[in-house]
Symmetry: C2
């Protein structure tokens, strides 16, 4: 199968919102009046971001999900995306699965594939996603203020737990592994929550690289510090309800595990009711796990308010 | 050097047109009133699109140039781009050269880096570019009409000639090789010509995959056929002025060589003067090499108007 046949068979669908579908030199997009276009791009490489054994349907889902998660962190509404795909060979079963997973999530968010590029090469997937957000309303990393609450959506650490099980460093009961693996391979981007937090959250970020590392970006951009309640964070490991794990391991998973496509966000404490309303409106659980402080730095505190002795290396693709 | 240091050192510059520079979850873009956003994405993989020995500065240039060429083919004005980079290792000399070449071309076109992603992996470069074009004015592949002239910009075939020399299948005098290699490694996207052709050209395409193959997309989209004057095309091989090459080889280079980031476009013959004015205004040579016909199919004709016996396989990344 040639490149153009491949695009025609797996990646061409009728154009909708976009003026031009896949196939011209450019796609044409037009944000609505008063709207800004939010753009993000994520590159996924085999062995680094996913294992060669991953179900292609889940990989298709995740490739788009990690990008939608960036839109969520800005409070943007998904609009469209481009897909660049390097494939070692044309494997039709793989392509059909990948496309099915990707388009199922795209359809769930009304997000249209508008262009792309395919080539032969070591498996790599690059999606660039476009969303729209009312001008000036995007959630940024730079707005956190001393006194703000620190919140996080959903659960934490289960994706990394599944990764460790796949690597063989931990052994999990079957049901725990299946649930954790779903968190790793089919993350649900928090688009509805991000949108609902416009005008409520003072800053937001997607914590794909681990809570502490990504929170660090917010603190740096906002020129503030924070304290994090380790016990409140540890309670967010879903697997804990089904099995016992050493406390240090739980801390490492929830605070620095990575691959949690959840939102960490800050909001003035007088807006707690509004945060809870946004969570209800988007059917997304949120938990308060700390607060923003004027003193620079990130303090992880135990149940007695004492600094945790444990250290958490940040997650870095080149470390 | 970690991922964030790498981004800070090589890819972070002050934000200009874009509301947010590199570093938030999303970049924010706003096309002007009445403008559409034109989007294109190209993925370059080592061994497929460039050799490992290429000068990183030229590779940085080319990685952006191939994307700007897609904007040119739509008549769009460059605005911004995102860069996703998979690197086998952090090589500072390589990164400095790559960034210098990329930013030099970006600055020449007022095109701003607004976001990206870096990871470790087999060398792959994916740029997604954004341009703006007045709503409804984009040059498309679908507008060619029977009777239109077929034009091409610049010269043809020299990039492929350089590639063949690098592969060792042809031997070139040093000066010819240097000039041809520049065409291969530092193509100049025809942005000014594309813009000048708005309202003049009836269809346009960027002929990166070879003239005949890419022209085929225009014919298919426009539901027309075309005849191409092989002699007029052959005259566009710049190397011909400096050395003799077998006619069949010249034909293969100019008609199906690939990697020519020139525009092929069509225009009504009554607009020849306007095409020539657009060429002058953009300081870009253009040559009439054929015409659009109602009869489907692509006919390559010799100097006597007879079909050429020579066959030209299309260029396809999976063929």
């Amino acid at each position: 199968m040639g490149e153009f046949d491949l695009i025609a068979r797996y990646f061409t669908r009728p154009a909708r919102r976009n003026a031009l579908g896949v196939g011209d030199d450019c796609a044409l997009l037009q944000p609505g009046p008063g709207m800004q276009l939010a753009v993000s791009t994520d590159l996924l490489v085999e062995g680094r971001h996913f294992l060669s054994t991953v179900d292609p349907r889940r990989l298709g889902h995740k490739s788009l999900a990690v990008n939608l998660s960036d839109l969520a962190a800005c409070g943007a509404e998904p609009l469209a995306f481009t897909l660049a795909l390097a494939l070692p060979a044309v494997d039709e079963a793989w392509l059909a699965g990948f496309a099915a997973g990707m388009f199922a999530l795209a359809d769930a968010h009304g997000c249209e594939l508008v262009g792309g590029d395919t080539t032969r090469g070591p498996l790599a997937i690059n999606i660039t996603v476009f969303g729209e957000v009312p001008s000036g309303d995007a959630l940024l990393r730079s707005g956190a203020q001393p006194g703000d609450d620190l919140w996080v959506s959903g659960t934490l650490g289960d994706a990394r737990l599944a990764l460790e099980a796949l690597r063989g460093t931990v052994s999990l009961p079957e049901a725990v592994f299946a649930a954790a693996r779903r968190r790793l391979e089919e993350p649900q981007p928090r688009v509805a929550l991000g949108r609902a937090l416009r005008g409520v959250a003072s800053a937001a970020i997607d914590i794909s690289d681990g809570l502490l590392g990504d929170l660090g970006h917010v603190l740096q951009r906002s020129a503030v510090g924070a304290s994090v309640d380790a016990e409140a964070a540890a309670a967010l490991l879903a697997a804990r309800t089904q099995m016992a794990l050493p406390p240090e391991q739980v801390n490492a998973l929830v605070l620095a595990g990575g691959d949690d496509y959840e939102l960490a966000f800050t909001a003035p404490s007088r807006l707690r009711g509004a945060v809870e309303a946004a969570a209800r409106a988007s059917a997304t659980p949120v938990t308060r796990i700390g607060r923003i402080e004027a003193e620079p730095g990130l303090r992880v505190l135990d149940a007695r308010g004492q600094p945790l002795a444990q250290r958490f290396p940040g997650f870095d693709h080149f470390a």
